[in-house]
Amino acid sequence: MAQTVFAPWDDPNEKPLIQFRNVTKRFGDFTAIDNLSQDIYAREFFALLGPSGCGKTTMMRMLAGFETPTEGQILIAGQDMAGVSPNKRPVNMMFQSYALFPHISVWENIAFGLKREGMEKAKIDARVTEMLRLTRLERFARRKPHQISGGQRQRVALARSLAKAPKLLLLDEPLGALDAKLRQDTQFELMDIQEKTGTTFVIVTHDQEEAMTVASRVAVMDEGQIMQVATPAVIYEQPNSVYVADFIGDVNIIEGAATPQGDGYDIAWAEGQPVLHVKTGKSFAPGQKCFLAIRPEKVGISAEEPTDAANKVQGQIIDIAYLGNLSTYHVQLADGTMMKAQIANTRRLSRRSLTWEDHVWLSWTDTAPVLLES
């Protein structure tokens, strides 16, 4: 049986759940969101990723109804949200600070939204119990928020925002306050819950690993605009700009001039150095300025000159960052450029031969880098 890939954004018949149409938001003179259009589909786990001040939180607050767009429209399920107050929207939000009500118990916190709906008592009981089970909080139902730990509070916040079964759940840096280990576990829990409930999640984060782990699509933002929207793999492997390449993960950027050659381009990058060859589908004018982006793990490092590599450069090891599973070698090339090469430490430490100040060869294939215009 063929597994259908979840990609509603590629299906022209699919109706988007959320539509941003030429949305601009200004705070006084400051433009937080600049003429932005974006569709988000039902059952997506959509991540807004960017540095602080890029407008990602503003987008989320406009969806929740806490901010109104200065220009443009936001549609949820085809309905224009202009003038719809936060309490009337089919949207719930999980706050960065969790915003649990400190004066009532965990149970009451989760039931809060249901009671406002005027749901019958028996139904509320059943729904809260279900939410407690989903987030594994049964034991803590009667406790007050200050009587539970940070991770448990985070789950209460999630349960509370899911209790009303919203069409759309907004998560504002939901895991920011958790330590690394707990954060990883919770990321998988979030994905699990998202799948079980079928809710559309929009998550705001500045942690690229988190966005890559949980999201079906990632939008990389900068200065009120979306730079690229794609699946995590495409964002990582085929960034459309130096900004995106640099923001996600580690990357070596080499600036040069492109000359058409075969099915790709030769890049002249430094005086007296052999050109680098790269295969690409994009077209560049002869002599056009371009940027070669290559991930450190796609760069090989060896003491002897490799014979069959499409690209090779010589350099000297300046620094070695030992990360346990990986080592990153900082290599200085002849013209002073620093490049990083990352090698998995599959052998024991004593068996490895490269060390500081060694002269080495860096090499990569002609399909490993991406060639970017800017």
Binding site: A64, G65, F66, S85, P86, N87, V91, N92, M93, F95, Q96, S97, A99, F101, P102, H103, F112, G113, R116, E117, R143, K144, H146, Q147, I148, S149, G150, G151, Q152, R160, S161, K164
Partner: protein, 272 residues
């Protein structure tokens, strides 16, 4: 170094003597047998009995309590509303002017407040009595409530209110169900402050009281002008006792609440 040195002990004794010696003397003389305040003639509680038979004092005490309860309650409602708007409504035109005007009565001489209220009441033809005292006390204690409540609101996590809206509350429900319960301690202390201010106000009450209603401070003040009687000492002792019990109860309750919270948080950290 946390030792009770000779110097510390002396400072402590002098300081407390300065604060409490007058009151101690008053309490002692309230149990004086003699009618002459300055001559000790043996222990007696007879002035307390006299006090209970003094209709004029009891009436004044009753008026004072009514005024204090009514004015502090109205002041708490108005003061909380003012604080909420000033902290929450963001920047609107004249915000600075408004907040300045709310706090101005704090530094306004009481004589001026009293006089202007008196002129107002005469101007609109309101007969002076218990109602005018209540209005006057509300006017000046409201700004104290507003100061206390707004200091709590400034430290209040706004996302709590947003969460309430997000979960389906109207703005008023969000205030009633989330904001108010959380700022309740500040609202209660604002009420207590207004209550205390009203209890011991003499200046403003003397401008706005009429023949039909006199408060206890006015009564005591006018009685003392004719000479201090042991009855007044007894009355003052009772007031000191009430205030002391109130303060101790309040601090014990808040101390216990803090301890409980600390214990809970430690327990939560351990089971995490």
């Amino acid at each position: 170094m946390r030792r009770m040195t000779w110097f510390n002990a002396t400072s402590l004794t002098l300081g407390f003597a300065f604060l409490y010696l007058p009151m101690v003397i008053l309490v002692i003389y309230s149990f004086n047998e003699s009618k002459l305040v300055t001559v000790w003639a043996g222990f007696s509680t007879k002035w307390y009995g006299e006090l209970l038979r003094n209709e004029a004092f009891l009436d004044a005490a009753w008026v004072t309590v009514q005024v204090a309860v009514a004015s502090s309650t109205i002041a708490t409602v108005l003061g909380t509303m003012a604080a909420y708007v000033l902290v929450r409504a963001g920047r609107f035109h004249g915000r600075t002017l408004f907040s300045g005007m709310i706090y101005a009565p704090l530094v306004m001489p009481e004589v001026i407040t009293g006089l202007s209220l008196l002129l107002l009441f005469i101007g609109i033809g309101l007969d002076r009595g218990i109602l005018t005292i209540i209005l006057a006390h509300t006017t000046f204690s409201m700004c104290y409530v507003s100061v206390v409540v707004s200091s709590r609101l400034v430290g209040f996590d706004r996302s709590l209110e947003e969460a309430a809206l997000d979960l389906g509350c109207t703005p008023f429900e969000s205030f009633r169900l989330v904001t108010l319960p959380i700022i309740a301690p500040a609202v209660i202390s604002g009420w207590l402050l207004a209550f205390t201010l009203s209890l011991d106000d003499l200046v403003i009450a003397s401008f706005t009281a009429g023949p039909s209603a006199t408060t206890l401070p006015i009564k005591i003040f006018s009685a003392v002008r004719l000479g201090v009687s042991p009855e007044i000492n007894a009355l003052s002792t009772i007031m000191i006792a009430i205030v002391t019990v109130g303060v101790i109860t309040a601090s014990v309750i808040s101390k216990r609440a803090t301890l409980m919270q600390q214990r809970d948080e430690q327990a939560a950290a351990r089971t995490a």
